[in-house]
């Protein structure tokens, strides 16, 4: 049962996502001002929440690793960053897809979207760092350090971009939709959440398996006795 957990979660999550999206795409009424284009919010908003959640999980794993160490937490960290990067990339893509028909431009420097782009590049950099370090212990420590440093920057980046943007004509960004449309949003949010947790577990398992293969234990200690020349043991 435990072995199949990721698969079950992914399945369940996809199911939720499909039903929520079906409702959002075909059944829910179109939004008053934006029309059908707004339907992308049913995917976009859940992705946003979960991207941040994945990266927060990475941050927590990083902190725990720095304090306690251990393969398991490094694996969780790696999973958190990768899943977070994928979701953030998706987020930026969805943001652009939404912006084009709405404002006529692909990118409108919305503070949240811009912060996501900065996060994306930042954490891709940390993944690159992982790739360029051979020693597993050092790789884990440096990833953890990089994650902590980058994550703490998130609110500062958001604030700076927000202030920066207020000097220009602020285009209203899509806030969460009117209350009548909450249902498909909630279903999708849970769908992506469950899907994400499944992916995190699966990815962490892969990372841990790789670490286990990389880090063998020293040989059986009992061999030590026979190596000592007899009569010289003090």
């Amino acid at each position: 049962m435990k072995q199949a957990a990721p698969a079950i979660l992914v399945g369940l999550g996809t199911l939720c996502l499909l039903s929520g999206s079906y409702y959002g795409l075909f059944v829910a009424p179109p939004e008053r001002y934006m029309g059908d284009v707004q339907r992308i919010m049913y995917i976009h908003v859940p992705t946003a929440w979960n991207a941040l959640l994945a990266l927060t999980w990475a941050f927590i794993s990083a902190l725990v690793y720095l304090v306690r160490g251990g393969r398991a937490w490094d694996a969780r960290l790696e999973a958190g960053i990768e899943v977070g990067v994928i979701l953030t990339a998706l987020l930026c893509a969805l943001g652009a897809i939404w912006a084009r028909p709405t404002w006529g431009v692909w990118w409108d420097w919305d503070p949240r979207l811009t912060t996501s782009a900065v996060l994306l590049v930042g954490f891709v950099g940390i993944l690159a760092l992982r790739h360029f370090v051979d020693d597993p212990a050092r790789r884990a420590t440096w990833t953890a350090v990089g994650t902590v440093v980058m994550y703490i920057d998130v609110p500062i980046v958001y604030l700076s971009v927000k202030w920066w943007n207020t000097l220009h004509q602020m285009q209203s960004t899509p806030e969460t939709v009117a209350t009548t449309f909450h249902w498909p949003l909630r279903v999708n949010a849970f769908g992506v959440l469950i899907l994400m947790v499944g992916l995190l577990i699966a990815r962490a398992r892969i990372a841990e398996a790789r670490l286990r293969e990389e880090l063998t234990d020293p040989e059986d200690e009992s061999a030590g006795a026979s190596n000592l020349v007899p009569g010289r043991v003090l």
């Binding site: 051979d134 020693d135 597993p136 212990a137 990389e214 880090l215 063998t216 020293p218 040989e219 200690e221 061999a223 030590g224 006795a225 026979s226 190596n227 000592l228 020349v229 010289r232 043991v233 003090l234």
Partner: protein, 273 residues
């Protein structure tokens, strides 16, 4: 204990410098390693080493290249952290009380640890300032004089030969062991770790190392010296240990390594007993 070595006459009173006799049980061992292991990538450089060295002993560390000699010395110095086990220097844990251990140990490693942009004197000044030893020009020149680099004190290290760089490393070591008059005795290193001290030196250099070892011994320092020059080590050291593929193969009086059985042990690789 299997696989362990305890070097030094436990139970016999030892006279410390200054003439104070102290019974060993009340004193901490200079170095205690328990279950020490360390990997680099996939390779285990050191596997489960248990070692106990009493203060004031001179220990030679012998083994093939790659047997873990440098790793052991670096673990004791606190330069690297163990993957398994722990190492105590004077009762301080090298992981938890890293700064105390680094104060008590002085390591002569393979690299010269110098800033090539600086002169010999400037390099020593950096070390002197950070170890609390006198930094005036004369004091440092006298240290350089001991390693016969006084003539090059104002020359940039970038132009130094390998032998001169090694002597710079010795000069750093002397500062850490307070070869010059110390201002504060509590700060001097008492455990000296030499990783192949004779490498890259010429015949006068060999004599210098011999004299240094003897003078450190006379001051009651504990010494661990990794070397391939077995005969020299045997003549200088009290005890010896043999490492093979990261494991402690043998421990005992250094003199035994000079005998025929000792030679056989060194020539015979593991697994062909």
């Amino acid at each position: 204990m299997i696989g362990t070595a305890s070097l030094g006459p436990v139970g016999a009173p030892v006279v410390l410098p200054g003439g104070v006799a102290q019974v060993p049980e009340l004193r901490e061992a200079a170095v205690t390693a328990t279950g020490l292991a360390r990997r680099f990538g996939r390779r285990w450089a050191l596997r489960h080493v248990d070692l106990r060295v009493e203060p004031g002993r001179l220990v030679m560390v012998v083994g093939r290249n790659g047997s873990g000699k440098s790793t052991l010395l670096r673990l004791i110095a606190g330069a690297i952290r163990p993957d398994r086990g722990r190492v105590l220097v004077g009762g301080h844990d090298a992981c938890r009380d890293a700064e105390a251990v680094r104060r008590q140990t002085a390591l002569l490693g393979h690299a010269s640890n110098t800033y090539d942009a600086f002169t010999a004197l400037e390099n020593l000044t950096v070390t002197a300032r950070l170890t609390g030893t006198p930094t005036d020009r004369d004091a440092l020149t006298s240290v350089l004089d001991r390693v016969e680099l006084a003539a090059y004190r104002d020359e940039s290290v970038a132009g130094f030969s390998a032998g001169m760089r090694r002597r710079m490393a010795f000069a750093r070591l002397l500062l850490q062991t307070d070869a010059v008059a110390p201002r504060d005795r509590s700060h001097k290193a008492s455990v000296v770790l030499l990783d192949e001290p004779y490498a890259q030196l010429d015949w006068p250099g060999f004599r210098f190392v011999d004299d240094l070892v003897r003078s450190l011994a006379a001051r009651g320092m504990t010494l661990l010296m990794a070397t391939h020059l077995v005969d020299r080590g045997v003549s200088l050291c009290d005890d010896g240990i043999v490492l093979e593929q990261g494991k402690l193969r043998w421990a005992g009086p250094a003199a035994w390594l000079g005998t025929r059985s000792g030679r056989e042990l060194l020539d015979r690789p593991e697994g062909r007993d």
